[in-house]
């Protein structure tokens, strides 16, 4: 009894060497080490495992089939939630996904990308996506978006709107100047224009966006028109078909959309530009590290 109490006392006393304690702690260390090694071995990415991770529904040659993709496919194919799907429906979707994975893996082995243009296109798209993943899976700050918006104001202006009349007078018409003076005083009517030998070109007259007016009037007349205020009359503009005079009924200049109104477009443009930037950068890198030989006649 005395001996055992002494042994217990020395077990607790870390100042004294105790062989049983050393053995016990050594065994504990080995067991913990083995547990950690075993856990890491069966759960680390890239290692072969016999367990299907909780986030997946299957492993096909260690390639996971995601549970979320499985559920999505089940829903899109049968329009049912997992709990309401029949065993056959669940099995069908799983089998289809396993089949797809097997064929993809076989396709890689056969190097179908070297011959099939669809596969090549899909691969190009997939690699571009991979390159752009940083931009796709991140949310820029409001400050970054605002500074982008301020740097590109021209992209976030609405279209201007104008209602303009375009009158044509004969090239030898001496009355054009008088017509211009008359238009400055009173709104145009067909009688008034006819009195000076003119006519409407028929190209414009309705309220339309700037881009449409530019198409209808042509560049030269549009440039003259866009600067006119409401009720403004242009100077005479000589064109092959006669002398044109423009009368502006309404001119709403393009207005810069405020940040809140344009934010969705700013965000979209910002991301697209980042994606373009990443893709271009990666292409440059790939070209740099590759050995590309070009035929003499195409250099």
């Amino acid at each position: 009894m005395t001996i055992s109490l002494l042994e217990v006392g020395s077990w607790r006393d870390f100042a004294k060497v105790n062989s049983k304690r050393s053995f016990f702690l050594g065994v504990c260390g080995a067991v913990i080490g083995l547990l950690l090694a075993g856990y890491a071995l069966f759960t680390a990415r890239g290692t072969s495992t016999l367990m299907v991770p909780a986030e997946d529904v299957a492993l096909v040659n260690q390639q996971p089939i995601s549970r979320s993709d499985y559920l999505m496919q089940l829903q899109s194919l049968y329009n049912v939630e997992f709990s309401h799907a029949t065993r056959e429906q669940r099995q069908k979707v799983l089998n289809d996904m396993i089949r797809e994975e097997l064929f993809v893996q076989r396709g890689k082995e056969l190097d179908v990308a070297s011959t099939d243009p669809d596969v090549r296109n899909a691969l190009v798209n997939a690699v571009e996506l991979e390159i752009a993943s940083d931009a796709i899976t991140s949310q820029p700050s409001e400050a970054a978006l605002r500074s982008y918006y301020q740097a590109h104001p021209e992209r976030y202006a609405g279209e201007g709107i104008m209602t303009v009349e375009d009158y044509v007078f004969p090239t030898n018409g001496a009355a054009v100047s008088e017509a211009i003076e008359a238009l400055k005083i009173q709104a145009p009517t067909s009688d008034l224009i006819a009195r000076f030998g003119g006519r409407s070109s028929g190209k414009v007259g309705d309220e339309e966006f700037y881009f449409a007016a530019k198409i209808h009037l042509g560049d030269r007349l549009f440039e003259a028109a866009r600067g006119l205020p409401q009720g403004g009359v242009s100077a005479r503009i000589e064109m092959p078909d006669g002398i044109h005079v423009l009368y502006m009924q309404k001119n709403v200049k393009p207005v810069l959309l405020d940040f809140a109104a344009a934010r969705d477009k700013v965000l979209s443009d910002y991301r697209n530009e980042r994606i373009r930037h990443l893709t271009t950068g990666d292409e440059t890198f790939l070209r740099k590290r590759s050995n590309i030989l070009i035929a003499d006649d195409l250099r």
Binding site: W11, R12, A54, E55, S66, R67, S68, D69, L71, M72, Q75, E81, F82, S83, H84, N125, L129, A132, S133, A135, I136, T137, S138, Q139, S141, E142, G158, E159, I161, D206, E207, E208, F209, F211, A212, L257, A260, A261, A262, R263, D264, K265, L267, S268, R271, I275
Partner: protein, 247 residues
């Protein structure tokens, strides 16, 4: 010896907490997403873990309470309107995973509101032609008429023929203007507006300048368990105690 015992106890407790967390996460992932909201334990675990993820990844746009911002077209996650899908956990999870117009091939990429006041309204469909300002105003009158608001009769009739004809609006928003949540097209005659206050001016801005809100894809950035926790947290925002979904 006491120190050793305490250390072993502390390590065991930490390990137990971690293992429990892993166990519940695995259970959460293996459970049918549709049935999780009725499991109080899983739901409590998920929303507890989902909240910090929401703060880190979603709150910058949707706001800390998830109310969104209509002036910027950021949807309110606490109401009962779902633009994409029907608001089931699996639908929310899909948005968290792959985003909306995020460029991810599995994202909701189909619905993009053309800018009918631009020379080329759609980047992807050259057949969509621009409209004139009066035509846009006619369309607005038609939408107002269908919403049961006061409108200008003749303009509304012109708008109706545009909606069902040359404007091609019916193609996405459907002939009854109720949209299609299968592709993320908004209902034009309900009380909820995604962009602006539903006024003529706000509608004009949407039709003339187009809309293309973006939600990033978080797949690969957030673990699968995190995505589910986040989806369940978002689900809980519109199904909180006292909400119309509260069972």
């Amino acid at each position: 010896m006491r120190i050793v015992a305490l250390s072993v106890l502390a390590v065991s407790m930490v390990a137990a907490v971690l293992l429990r967390g892993r166990y519940v996460e695995a259970h959460l992932l293996r459970a049918d997403p549709g049935s999780i909201p009725s499991d109080a334990t899983l739901m409590s675990f998920a929303t507890g873990h989902g909240r910090p993820l929401f703060d880190a990844h979603c709150a910058s746009c949707h706001g800390p309470a998830g109310h969104g911002d209509r002036t910027k077209g950021i949807p309110d996650l606490t109401d009962d309107e779902w633009l994409y899908g029907t608001g089931q956990v699996i639908d929310i999870e899909r948005v968290v995973d792959y985003g909306i117009r995020s460029h991810h091939p599995k994202a909701w990429n189909l619905a993009i509101m053309p800018a009918f006041g631009r020379p080329r309204p759609s980047e992807t469909d050259a057949k969509i032609a621009p409209l004139t300002p009066p035509q846009i105003r006619d369309l607005i009158e038609f939408i107002f008429h269908e919403q049961g608001r006061n409108t200008e009769g003749i303009a509304s009739a012109r708008g109706a023929s545009l909606y069902l004809g040359a404007g091609g609006c019916y193609d996405c928003h459907s002939t009854d203007l109720r949209g299609d949540s299968a592709i993320g097209v908004p209902n034009l005659i309900d009380k909820t507006t995604l962009f602006g206050d539903g006024s003529r001016q706000a509608l004009y801005m949407s039709i003339a300048n187009g809309r293309q809100g973006v939600c990033p894809a978080w797949v690969g950035q957030i673990s699968p368990a995190g995505v589910r926790e986040l989806a369940l947290f978002v689900y809980s925002l519109s199904h909180s105690v006292g909400s119309k979904h509260d069972n």
